[in-house]
């Protein structure tokens, strides 16, 4: 599985990528939406894990852009807020099951990653 992680907290996203790599997942990370859009010009990913609140272009907007460029890509959202409004917006984009509130347990994340790959694929 090739995974793209996008979060403006570099220490979070780099450490999470390392933990996924330990588990045999090919994980790449960037800290901005612009860097994500640049990266997908040359690389393909099965799944993108996006922070909802990103500077300049938020995670929801980034998801739309990535989906247009790579319709086969699946998505998970991570958020620090966990407010009801954020939940509704994020859940509307990917389904409530694919919207995770930080901090998240790696086991739960892996489970959701696998579900996202399977279930979002089935719904298309």
């Amino acid at each position: 599985m090739r995974v793209l992680l996008v979060d403006d907290e570099e220490q979070l996203v780099s450490t999470l990528a390392e933990r996924l790599q330990i588990r045999g997942i090919d994980a790449r990370w960037v800290t901005s939406s612009m860097a994500a859009l640049e990266l997908v010009e040359t690389e393909t990913f099965d799944l993108a894990i996006l922070d909802v609140k990103l500077p300049k272009m938020n995670g929801l907007e980034l998801k739309k852009r990535l989906h247009t460029l790579h319709p086969e890509m699946k998505f998970l959202f991570l958020t620090g807020h966990g407010s009801e409004d954020d939940f509704k917006i994020g859940a509307a984009e990917t389904g409530a099951d694919f919207y995770l509130v930080k901090p998240v347990k790696i086991e739960s994340l892996l489970e959701k990653m696998n579900e996202a790959i399977q279930r979002q694929g089935e719904s298309e």
């Binding site: 907290e9 450490t15 933990r19 620090g80």
Partner: protein, 215 residues
């Protein structure tokens, strides 16, 4: 605070809510980083149990990451505590330098979201006005919120303070036009404060009377 509540209480609540949400987001991020670093320590320990050697330099670096985030979270909580108590503080002689430094710290996440660099130049000597602490936080935050939205190519806002014979001036630069948000103007009127712009120096100047105790 009843007259305030009647006229502009909603904008105070909005400010309080937005800053609180921003604080919770920052704390969640610090916790998430601690969570991942602790998780990585566990991963490395499990691998060491299976024979892979542990690198002490790597362990030290992960421990340092955790310590850094604990310090960050502690700073956020300290600011949160000061901010939370500002709402119930009575009219007092307010140190504007301290108050602006706190408001800038509380607004840093919002600035980052708008890709704006926010600076504060502390005054060389204390600058004080008499009012409720929350009113100053509220008016400065409202101004910053609008200025972040329209920050020019510089994408940088600098705050400074200037003592004045009958009060103090809070300076925002580079800014070319006055603030227009209705709540901000209402609060300025309530505090009997005034705004003006200096086109030569590209400054927005909020002039605060020395004594706003009656507000």
């Amino acid at each position: 605070m009843s007259a305030y509540q009647e006229s502009i209480g909603d904008c105070g609540l909005h400010c309080f809510g937005s800053i609180s949400a921003s604080i919770s987001h920052e704390l969640k991020n610090a916790l998430a980083i601690i969570n991942e670093n602790a998780g990585l320590l566990e991963d490395l320990s499990l691998m060491a149990e299976k024979g892979r050697p542990l690198d002490p330099v790597r362990l030290k670096s992960l421990a340092a990451n955790i310590a850094k985030q604990i310090q960050r979270a502690d700073g956020i909580i300290r600011n949160m505590n000061r901010f939370a108590h500002s709402a119930d503080e009575p009219v007092n002689c307010i140190d504007l330098g301290e108050t602006l430094a706190l408001t800038v710290a509380l607004s840093s996440r919002l600035a980052a979201m708008k890709s704006v660099t926010l600076n504060f130049i502390p005054p060389s000597q204390p600058v004080c006005v008499t009012t409720r602490l929350f009113y100053i936080e509220n008016i400065v935050w409202l101004c910053l919120k609008e200025l972040f939205e329209r920050a020019g190519a510089e994408k940088e806002i600098t705050l400074a303070l200037r003592p004045q014979p009958e009060g103090a001036a809070v300076i925002f630069s580079p800014v070319d036009a006055p603030v227009t948000d209705a709540s901000t103007i209402k609060l300025l009127d309530y505090l009997k404060a005034a705004q003006s712009t200096d086109s030569k120096h590209r400054e927005l100047i909020i002039t605060l009377p020395a004594d706003m105790a009656a507000c």
